[in-house]
C-alpha cells in the first residue's frame, strides 16, 4: 500500500515537472521572441533617417502598402456605413431620434470602426503580403545576399515598408470613415427618408474635432505601427522554408488582429474613460 502510494506520488511529481517544464519553455520562447522583436523594431527605427534621405524608397512602398489597399478599404467602408445607417435608423426611429443618425454613424466610424476595421483589413491585405514578401526574400537568400553586398537589409527593405505602413494606416482609416459616412447617408437619407440636412448638420454640431477625430487618428497611427511591426518582424523572423513562410503569414494576421483589438480597448479606455 505504501509502495503504491509512493508510485502514485512519483507519477504526480513527473506530471507536475513536465507541466512546469512546458510552461517554462513556452514562457522563455515567448519572451525571447518579444526581445528579438523589440531589437528588430529599434533597428528599424534607426533606419528612418536614411529612408528620409531617399524618399523614393518610401513612395514605392506607400504605393504597394497603401494605394493597393484602396479598393478593399473603400468597398468595406461603404458597406459598413450602409449597415450602420440601417441598424441606426431602426433603433433611433423607435425613439423618434432618426435625425441624429448622422451623429451615430459618424461617431461610430470615426472613433471605432474606421481605425479598427481598417486596421484589421490592412493586416489581412497589406500585412500578410509584407510577411510573405519578406519571408520569401529570406528563404531565397535575398536578404543574406544584400548583407553580403554591404547593404543593410533592415534600412533598405524593412524601414521603408514600416514607414509606409505607419503613414498609410491613418489615411486608409480616414478614407474608410469618410466612405462609411457617405454609405450611411445613402441608406439613411437616400432610402429611409432621414432628412439630409439633419444628417449632416447634427453630425457637424455633435462631433468634436479633438475628442473624436484626433483620437481616431491617434488610434489608427498606433494600429498602423503595431500591424506593420508585426508583419515585418514575422517575415524577418520566419523559418526560411515555404512552410515557415506560410505559418508566419498566418501568425501575422492572427497576432495583428489580437493586438489591434486589445489596444483598441486600452486606447478607448484612456481616451474616453473620463467622459
Amino acid at each position: 500500500m505504501g509502495a503504491l502510494y509512493k508510485q502514485n506520488d512519483c507519477e504526480e511529481h513527473k506530471k507536475m515537472i513536465a507541466f512546469l517544464d512546458h510552461l517554462g519553455k513556452n514562457t522563455r520562447t515567448s519572451f525571447t521572441k518579444l526581445g528579438r522583436g523589440t531589437f528588430f523594431l529599434l533597428q528599424t527605427l534607426s533606419g528612418i533617417l536614411s529612408v528620409l534621405i531617399r524618399p523614393r524608397l518610401l513612395f514605392n512602398q506607400m504605393y504597394s502598402v497603401g494605394v493597393l489597399s484602396f479598393l478593399i478599404i473603400t468597398i468595406s467602408g461603404l458597406f459598413v456605413g450602409m449597415v450602420l445607417g440601417l441598424q441606426g435608423y431602426y433603433i433611433l426611429s423607435d425613439f423618434g431620434a432618426e435625425e441624429t443618425l448622422g451623429v451615430m454613424v459618424a461617431a461610430s466610424l470615426v472613433r471605432e470602426l474606421g481605425p479598427v476595421v481598417a486596421a484589421l483589413l490592412f493586416a489581412g491585405r497589406a500585412g500578410s503580403a509584407l510577411t510573405a514578401e519578406i519571408g520569401l526574400m529570406k528563404a531565397t537568400e535575398q536578404l543574406s545576399g544584400m548583407e553580403m553586398m554591404a547593404v543593410d537589409p533592415i534600412k533598405r527593405i524593412i524601414t521603408p515598408r514600416f514607414l509606409a505602413g505607419l503613414l498609410s494606416m491613418p489615411l486608409l482609416a480616414g478614407l474608410f470613415s469618410a466612405i462609411g459616412i457617405i454609405g450611411g447617408q445613402m441608406v439613411g437619407a437616400g432610402l429611409l427618408g432621414v432628412d439630409e440636412g439633419a444628417y449632416w448638420s447634427q453630425m457637424q454640431a455633435n462631433l468634436d474635432f479633438q475628442d473624436d477625430i484626433i483620437n481616431g487618428v491617434i488610434k489608427s497611427i498606433v494600429f498602423g505601427f503595431v500591424a506593420s511591426w508585426i508583419a515585418l518582424f514575422e517575415g524577418y523572423d520566419a523559418i526560411p522554408t515555404s512552410e515557415g513562410v506560410s505559418r508566419a503569414t498566418t501568425r501575422t494576421v492572427v497576432n495583428s488582429a489580437f493586438s489591434i483589438l486589445g489596444l483598441d480597448f486600452i486606447l478607448t479606455a484612456l481616451m474616453f474613460g473620463d467622459n
Binding site: 526574400m137 535575398q142 545576399g145 548583407e147 553580403m148 553586398m149 554591404a150
Partner: protein, 276 residues
C-alpha cells in the same frame, strides 16, 4: 598529406576554426589558407557546412573559436562599418543566385552601384552593360528574375557580384542543378573572370569534375575536419579511402551505402513486431 604545397601568399586565412550548430559540430578546429589570385575549392559531401564556411568568412556568422582574416582584417573583430567596407570588396554568388525578385536584370546588376556609388545614371548604364556582356547576357537586361533559367540567374548574379570590382568572389555550389551546357559556361566564366580580373576565388562544391578542372588547390572536408588537401592531381592520387570514394563517387566505401541497421536476415526473419 603533402604539406610542401601549402599556399604562402594568402588573402584569406582561417585558423583553428570551430563552429557548431545545436549539438552538431560543423567545424572542429580546422585551418585553411586561400592564396591570392588563385581558385581554391572546398569540397565535401552535402551537409558538411560548406555554405556555413562562406558565411563565416563573410562575417554573417560568428565562430566559436578561431579567427578568420581577410586581407589582413580579422573579420569578426571589425566594427560594423568596417565589415561593410570589407564586404564591398567581397563578391558572393549564392546557390540560388539571390537576385532581387522585384527588379529587372539591369536593376539587379545596377543595385550595388546605385547603393554604394554616386555615379551618374549614364555611367551606371555603361558599367552594367559591360558586366552583363562579360557573362554573355547583355541581351537579357530587361527580363525579370522569374523569367530566367537557373543558369542565367547564376550568371546575372555573377555579373552583380563583380559590379563593384571586388578582390575576391565566393561561389556557393555554382554547378548544382545546372545542365551540362550551363555548367560548361560557368566553369569557363569562373576561370576567365579569375584570370582577367585578378580575383581570388573560393568555390564550394561537390561537383568533382567541374571543380577539379579549374581549381588550383582543393580542400576536402568531412565531418568538420580537413580530410585531404592539395592540387587537383594530388587529390586524385590521394591514398585516403574516403577521398578516393568522394572523388570517384563509389556507392560503397568508408561512407556506407546502407544506413545503420540490424542484420538483414535477422530483420527479415524477426516476428514483425512494430517499432517503437
Amino acid at each position: 598529406m603533402d604539406n610542401s604545397v601549402l599556399p604562402q601568399n594568402s588573402l584569406i586565412s582561417v585558423k583553428n576554426l570551430s563552429f557548431s550548430r545545436g549539438n552538431k559540430k560543423i567545424f572542429d578546429d580546422i585551418s585553411l589558407e586561400f592564396e591570392r589570385g588563385k581558385i581554391t575549392a572546398i569540397m565535401g559531401p552535402s551537409g558538411t557546412g560548406k555554405t556555413t564556411l562562406l558565411k563565416l568568412i563573410g562575417g554573417q556568422l560568428f565562430p566559436e573559436q578561431g579567427t578568420i582574416s581577410v586581407d589582413g582584417n580579422n573579420v569578426h573583430r571589425l566594427r560594423r562599418s568596417e565589415l561593410y567596407n570589407l564586404r564591398k570588396r567581397m563578391g558572393m554568388l549564392f546557390q540560388s543566385g539571390a537576385l532581387l525578385t522585384g527588379m529587372s536584370v539591369f536593376d539587379n546588376v545596377a543595385f550595388p552601384l546605385r547603393e554604394h556609388t554616386h555615379l551618374p545614371e549614364s555611367m551606371i548604364r555603361t558599367l552594367v552593360l559591360m558586366k552583363l556582356q562579360a557573362v554573355g547576357l547583355r541581351g537579357a537586361r530587361d527580363l525579370m528574375p522569374n523569367e530566367l533559367s537557373g543558369g542565367m540567374a547564376r550568371r546575372i548574379a555573377l555579373a552583380r557580384a563583380i559590379a563593384l570590382d571586388p578582390m575576391m568572389i565566393m561561389y556557393d555550389e555554382p554547378f548544382t542543378g545546372q545542365d551540362p551546357i550551363s555548367k560548361g559556361a560557368l566553369v569557363q566564366l569562373i576561370k576567365s573572370l579569375n584570370n582577367i580580373l585578378k580575383l581570388t576565388s573560393i568555390i564550394v562544391s561537390h561537383d568533382v569534375l567541374e571543380t577539379a578542372a579549374i581549381a588550383d588547390y582543393i580542400y576536402v572536408i568531412s565531418e568538420g575536419k580537413v580530410v585531404g588537401q592539395g592540387r587537383p592531381e594530388d587529390i586524385e592520387q590521394s591514398e585516403s579511402d574516403w577521398v578516393q570514394q568522394f572523388m570517384t563517387g563509389a556507392a560503397d566505401g568508408p561512407v556506407h551505402f546502407h544506413y545503420p541497421a540490424k542484420d538483414y536476415v535477422d530483420d527479415l526473419l524477426s516476428t514483425g513486431k512494430r517499432y517503437g
